[in-house]
């Protein structure tokens, strides 16, 4: 189901419906906790592979990315850690549903996962990630992959109560490392090679 095309159809935000669902708490209460947990998992399972999805909508003829905001400042892409041995695409679908799909029994949204547009590596149990694996590191601790997700015209998203779903324009992310971090703030560059089809209602 990986569509490899350089054209991305984007629909206006209004064509989507947003609901809520029960809160989805972060597993770690602090960065230290998170790193510690990462360490434990690394010992058990080896390098962690994370996948995240870039969901695009358009407003005013400009692509916007859907970000989940935790608290008031921290934004992250929907996604998460893969289970050991899990396929990347399948894992991403699982995570997207877990984060954004309604918990109701019924068909889960049919996520159209596009190509991988970025890979970030974490060489140590620290918060730093780089778009390459540093040459002196043979055992990176985490590999994070960003995929484009092609949304269909109608979707229903159920957002956990403790999170906010924002549609952030690309120009807001561009060159804004302080606010969004190196991974998200460089998404506009990763997407620059795509041609966006702004579909109006």
């Amino acid at each position: 189901m990986v569509t490899s095309s350089s054209v991305v159809n984007t629909y206006p935000l209004s064509s989507y419906t947003f609901g809520t669902k029960e809160p989805k708490m972060e597993k770690d209460t602090s960065v230290a906790d998170r790193l510690a947990r990462m360490k434990v998992n690394y010992m058990k399972e080896g390098m962690r592979t994370s996948v995240e999805g870039i969901l695009l909508v358009q407003e005013h003829n400009h692509p916007h990315i859907l970000l989940l905001q935790i608290g008031n400042t921290f934004c992250k892409l929907p996604g998460g850690r893969l289970k050991p041995g899990e396929n990347e695409i399948e894992g991403l679908k699982r995570k997207l549903s877990s984060k954004l799909a309604a918990n109701l029994p019924g068909p889960q949204p049919d996520w159209q996962i596009g190509e991988c547009v970025a890979t970030w590596w974490r060489p140590n149990f620290e918060t730093m990630t780089y778009p390459y694996c540093p040459p002196h590191i043979t055992k990176p601790k985490e590999c994070k992959k960003l995929f484009i997700v092609h949304l269909s015209e109608r979707e229903f998203f159920a957002v956990p109560k403790n999170l906010k779903l924002l549609a952030v324009p690309l120009f807001e992310l561009y060159d804004n490392v302080q606010r969004y971090g190196p991974v998200i703030s460089t998404i506009p560059q990763q997407l620059s090679r795509f041609q966006f089809n702004m579909i109006h209602p």
């Binding site: 730093m128 540093p134 040459p135 002196h136 590191i137 055992k139």
Partner: protein, 647 residues
């Protein structure tokens, strides 16, 4: 002689002691000792025959004057300021000291240990090398042994030397009835090292010599079991991987963790890492066995870690991360000087920072991690002073100073604040710590330069990109061309060392204009080719002053900016640089550059230049309406070019 000593060592050490002992024969001994110390700095051979005499007194002096924070048992093995092992060490030493012919040191140890407090905790349990050295020395003539020993002793207490000394002192103490103290004292504060000898000397010079080496050996061995499982391994290539390291390390024992220190901004390795073994014996074995091991064609340096250095490395790492992020564009140097660190020691920091700059440390450095020497802040490229440490190794033979020795010295407070993480690694990494490096009586270790060889890559070193990262407008390819390029790139970053900066500061005459022009280009041209562009431009327009002048006027604001940054750089750099020389250098670079292309005025040249950088020329043409002042051919080409890119 006295004067020298005073200058060299601690004032308190030299001066007060001198005064006190002025009465007796010890004075002369003292003087000699101090002299020896001074010599130690410069000469490898120490004639410490006379050293012993004054030591005892000096020791006592020291004790009273400068109570040491830790009570080291002369083992030299002590870890940083902690006197964690003094007692056990003393005992072991006592046992081992017996080897010395005729030396009954056991009894003395107890008293010796008392002395140790004088010594700074600079000594690390770096016993490895000394033992071997002493063993070999045993067979040699006493004088020889002395020499080597003395040499070690002579060095700042912080160095491994001190460790050795401590050992010796113990032996000595045995010999000298009731005078174990002096020997120990020698550990403390580098300068006092030698005094120990004199004590023995008095009693039995012949024996003293012999004993020393022996003692050292014995004493060193027990030190190994001080529980230190951490090592610092440095002077690695940035592409030397953790897997390579691990495969070698595992030969020495189980490795708990290997932690590389890398530049936060880029993830690139700084060239050193911290290794934790499961048990101290493995760590010691590794330190001895792996020091100098060649990784990818480069010999590494292994040093034992001390709690302080570990803490500093860690903290500097954190600091670096934060500090660098903010200060990066401003040039690492200021940051490195411990701005973010909060280290108390100014002295080392300053040195570190300074050294780094000279070393052409250009790397990002800023990040708080100065740890290695890069002056803490120095961006990625920390100059590698390292050579010295290597030398030190050879020199010391037995001086396994590494680590602890490094700073402790007598400057108690100084140690407290290693300017940046960097400082520590340096100290640690330079097992061979060249005495000259230590500087005079600088307990801190007087880094004259980045101790850690690996830390500071040579200017043209691997990190050209590091700089580029900071100064996006500089074309990385430009760096390969020579100084000029760097100068330009450096504009925004303080990382570059003085000479390069000098390029910028050319304000007058031919050089100046070109420089400024270049500056302008870089700022104007944006990320790419700025330097190249400017470079070609400069050479190209060498004769065309008018256009340059007009262009300069146009870009008045930019120029001011670059000018100010130039000025800033100039201020930061060594002022004594001869600008003219720099100009010349620049010119030479330009000449060489020019060789790649046809003569500047030739149409061919213009064509090449234009062709290669059509975008630039286009932008330039826009900005420089007076370009038509140039030769016709150029204009023609220029005009043509102008049209082409716009298609």
């Amino acid at each position: 002689m006295g004067d020298e000593q005073l200058d060299y060592g601690d004032e308190e050490y030299g001066g007060s002691q001198k005064a006190q002992y002025h009465g007796g024969g010890a004075i002369s001994a003292l003087a000699e000792d101090e002299m020896i110390n001074v010599d130690d700095e410069y000469d490898d051979l120490y004639n410490d025959v006379n050293v012993g005499e004054g030591f005892m007194q000096m020791q006592q002096q020291q004790q009273s004057e400068a109570p040491m924070p830790h009570v080291g048992v002369g083992n030299g093995g002590f870890q940083a300021p902690r006197s964690n092992v003094p007692d056990p060490r003393a005992e072991t030493m006592a046992i081992q000291g017996v080897n010395i012919p005729g030396v009954v040191t056991e009894g003395k140890y107890a008293s010796s240990s008392i002395r140790f407090p004088d010594q700074k905790s600079g000594l690390t349990s770096d016993v490895g090398p000394p033992p071997t050295t002493t063993a070999s020395q045993k067979g040699r003539a006493p004088e020889m042994v002395h020499g080597s020993q003395a040499g070690n002793l002579g060095y700042q207490g912080s160095l491994a030397m001190s460790q050795k000394i401590g050992v010796d002192s113990r032996n000595m103490s045995g010999k000298v009835a009731g005078e174990p103290g002096p020997l120990l004292n020698s550990f403390a504060g580098g300068s006092s090292v030698i005094p120990q000898m004199p004590t023995n000397h008095v009693t039995s010079s012949g024996n003293v010599n012999i004993i020393r080496p022996v003692v050292t050996e014995n004493q060193i061995r027990p030190v190994v079991e001080n529980g230190n499982t951490m090592l610092f391994i440095g002077d690695l290539h940035w592409w030397t991987t953790d897997a390579e390291l691990e495969s070698v390390l595992s030969q020495y024992g189980k490795v708990n963790e290997i932690k590389f220190f890398d530049e936060r901004a880029s993830g690139k390795s700084k060239g050193y890492c911290q290794v934790e073994f499961a048990d101290p014996a493995a760590a010691a074995a590794c330190k001895e066995g792996m020091n100098g091991h060649v990784f990818n064609g480069r010999a590494c340096v292994v040093a034992l870690a001390t709690p302080q250095t570990i803490k500093h490395m860690g903290s500097s790492y954190m600091n670096k991360t934060q500090v660098q992020a903010q200060t990066q564009p401003q040039g690492r140097r200021p940051t490195n000087d411990g701005a973010g660190r909060g280290n108390g020691t100014n002295y080392p920091s300053g040195d570190a920072g300074k050294n780094f700059g000279r070393g052409g440390w250009g790397g990002r450095g800023g990040q708080g991690m100065p740890i290695k020497g890069p002056g803490g802040v120095p961006g990625r490229g920390r100059g590698a002073v390292g050579a010295k440490s290597m030398i030190g190794n050879a020199l010391g033979g037995g001086n396994s100073v590494s680590g602890g020795a490094f700073v402790q010295g007598f400057a108690g407070p100084a140690f407290g604040g290693p300017p940046t993480g960097l400082m520590h690694p340096q100290a640690m990494m330079g097992p061979g710590f060249d005495p000259t490096y230590i500087g005079r009586g600088a307990g801190y270790g007087g880094f004259s330069g980045p101790a850690f060889p690996g830390m500071i890559p040579p200017f043209p070193a691997v990190n050209p990109m590091g700089l580029a990262g900071v100064a996006p407008h500089v074309n990385p390819a430009f760096f390969g061309r020579g100084m000029a390029v760097n100068g330009m790139g450096m504009m925004g970053t303080a990382g570059m060392d003085g000479p390069h900066t000098g390029m910028w500061t050319n304000t007058g005459g031919w050089g100046g204009e070109e420089h400024s022009r270049r500056t302008r280009e870089s700022s104007y041209g944006g990320e790419d080719n700025a330097s190249e562009y400017g470079y070609g431009e400069a050479s190209h327009d060498k004769g065309v002053r008018s256009s340059a002048a007009s262009r300069e006027k146009e870009r008045g604001t930019e120029r001011d900016w670059s000018g100010s940054s130039e000025r800033r750089h100039r201020d930061e750099r060594e002022h004594d640089r001869d600008r003219y020389d720099r100009n010349n250098r620049h010119r030479e670079d330009k000449d060489s550059y020019r060789e790649y292309r046809p003569k500047e005025r030739d149409p061919g040249y213009v064509d090449d230049w234009d062709r290669e950088q059509p975008s630039r020329s286009r932008s330039r043409s826009r900005a420089n309406p007076e370009e038509h002042h140039r030769s016709r051919s150029r204009d023609a080409d220029y005009g043509k070019r102008r049209h082409l890119p716009s298609d």
